[in-house]
Symmetry: C2
Subunit: 180 residues, 2 copies
């Protein structure tokens, strides 16, 4: 799949010919289907978005404090399909230039995820599950930063204990944020 190649080598490091060869078709066929390389990238991002949304919000749009457990589960599942890990990070890193067409999409996606996370935390606060002296938006940014940073670290050296570290992190967060 194209996803694996791009996650490994980045968009700029993967040629249409590479992807076509992997898919067992000609390079022209890839262009025929996606129009441009950018079209292909967007299609890949669509798939990734759908996949990740399914994982994060699988317990409904408002999982409350269970969100930390969900995240720990996601990280634990990295070992099973390592191809997707780092895709977003790699694409973000490659598209920070102002002139890039992918940037607005990535920025919007980031903001949306922050908003949804913050809303979940705020909802947990309202229900009395979580301390109210914590800024939910800051906490949402922190959670996302930890997750994407861990992806990056996992890309550099995939032998780090990502699952264990995240399990400990989730437990600590849950205990620390619980309404006492």
């Amino acid at each position: 799949m194209a996803t694996r190649l791009i996650a490994r080598n980045g968009s700029r490091g993967t040629t249409l010919a590479d992807i076509a060869h992997e898919a067992g078709v000609s390079q022209a066929a890839v262009v025929y289907h996606f129009g441009t390389k950018d079209g292909l990238l967007n299609a890949i991002l669509d798939a990734r978005d759908a996949f990740e949304d399914g994982l994060i919000w699988r317990l409904g749009p408002d999982p409350g404090m269970r969100i930390f457990g969900i995240i720990a589960d996601i990280v634990a599942s990295w070992a099973d399909n390592p191809d997707l890990v780092g895709l977003l990070g790699v694409l973000i890193a490659e598209n920070v230039g102002d002139d890039d067409t992918l940037r607005p999409r990535l920025a919007a996606n980031y903001r949306l995820t922050v908003d949804r996370l913050a809303a979940t935390l705020a909802s947990a606060q309202k229900r009395g599950e979580m301390r109210t002296d914590v800024d939910t938006r800051a906490k949402a940014i922190e959670i996302l930063a930890y997750l994407s940073g861990l992806e990056l670290a996992w890309l550099v050296s995939s032998d780090i204990p990502a699952a264990e570290t995240t399990a400990a992190w989730a437990a600590e967060q849950t205990a620390n944020l619980a309404q006492s």
Copy 2:
């Protein structure tokens, strides 16, 4: 400076001609000085390593629990020279392919930083400044993940409150890890 261009556009997204133009010299002059593009990247990484080492360990090799405050200060300083922010992340993301020559260097650098962080935390435990039921290596990985993830987020949308979020994060970490 070449650093800014590469941090913004990545190594693959920046040509020698771009850098030469920015520096006001010919493209051949850049090659003359650094030999290859790879040589240039390594020179940039040298500068970045020296710069960041100077910041993180400026209070000595064993700052103990003050490491969180130091990190908060570093993030607060991002606004002053935003060019360096994200450089490491961008280069890591671009060099996850096995065949890349920069990968070993980046991996070694990551491992070294984790080791030094973990050592600092272990030392704090020994001095009784920090809870001893926390795995120092996992905590070091968590800290680095948060930092690099925040860099990435800052690259996508530089309007996030990185400094405030990190100040809150540092305070929470310090309070939570303090020996009670």
